[in-house]
Amino acid sequence: MKIKIDAFEKELNSLLEKAVSDAKTLKGFSEDELNHRVSSTSWSALECIQHLNLYGDFYLPEIERIIDLKRYPASDTGYFHTGWLGNYFGNLMKATNDKITKMKSPKDKNPIHSDLNITTIDRFIKQLEKMQLLFSQSKKSNLEKTRIPTSLSPMIKLKLGDTFRFLIYHIERHLLQAMKALSA
């Protein structure tokens, strides 16, 4: 899939801003409400946020490390092409309105029963700000040639552009889940 970088940047920043705004909304709820679970296996709002934090813990330092290497300068076409795997993950994560298909999370990214509170959300907001910064730095690198290992395996790498796509839709998806956990 061919993606216009400027358009993607607009979408990413808009989704990140919405994420920050949603996170601030979440801060207005009580700790009890944020820890409330609809069923014993579904996640509370805080668990959704912590799950996102765990992904950020892996991806943000990796992205930063690799773009600092400055191996591949940005292309001048203004477009990047998604890879088949990157495109698959991106589309998998994209929440289609209200319908969220249930998916199993990798064991080390399962936040259930961890100790969570208001700092979980504050940490998430910091990660969003960091992601915004990293994307603007990433524009100097080639979004196709630069590859980022996935948390699944260091041998499975995605294009830098695809990594951001996957991450931002993943965030959107779990934030939707967090809001639902509150309203239930």
Binding site: G56, D57, L60, P61, T119, D122, R123, K126, Q127, K130
Partner: protein, 172 residues
């Protein structure tokens, strides 16, 4: 410092906070100085990836977000109770009034600030000390009862090492 303590007992401000409750959050302006009567708190810096503990407060110590308290800037730190804690609260207004009241109070306040300045320098040396066992030794010399007051995982964070490393060097 005795006068400060006196002021806190006269001041009706007293709070009891439960484990996990905050005295101060990042971004807030610190308006109080707390004296811990019982329990324990931790002051930490939150980054995108972790909580870095910079200081503990337990029975008999004063604590607050000092930079924010002194210059009105937003607090970079959280101060959270690690178990049920009773504090006496001294507001900035009351402290200022008291400190400038007479020479005795001023001396007491200066002595407190001097103690704090030295503690900060010691802490800076802690951070620059490469050997984990050396860092532990330094901290235990200052606070021999630390392991009775604070859970291991927090001490490890303060010492800038993993809980596993801390257990290992304690047992060796």
């Amino acid at each position: 410092m005795g006068r400060l303590l006196q002021a806190t007992t006269k001041n009706p401000g007293q709070r009891i906070i439960s484990k996990g409750e905050f005295l101060t959050r990042e971004g807030e302006t610190e308006r109080n100085l707390y004296y811990i009567e019982s329990g324990a708190v931790r002051a930490f810096l939150l980054t995108e990836h972790e909580e870095q503990i910079i200081r503990f407060g337990y029975k008999g110590s004063f604590i607050n977000s000092l930079s924010s308290f002194l210059n009105g800037s937003p607090s970079p730190f959280y101060i959270e109770a690690i178990r049920k804690t009773e504090v006496r609260v001294l507001t900035k207004e009351l402290l200022e009034k008291m400190v400038y009241e007479n020479e005795e109070s001023m001396k007491g306040y200066i002595a407190l600030l001097e103690t704090l300045a030295v503690q900060q320098i010691e802490r800076e040396i802690d951070i620059l000390t490469v050997s984990p066992s050396e860092r532990l030794k330094r901290v235990l010399e200052r606070s021999p009862t630390l392991f009775q007051e604070v859970p291991l995982k927090y001490i490890a964070s303060y010492l800038r090492m993993t809980p596993e490393t801390l257990s290992r060097i304690r047992n060796s």
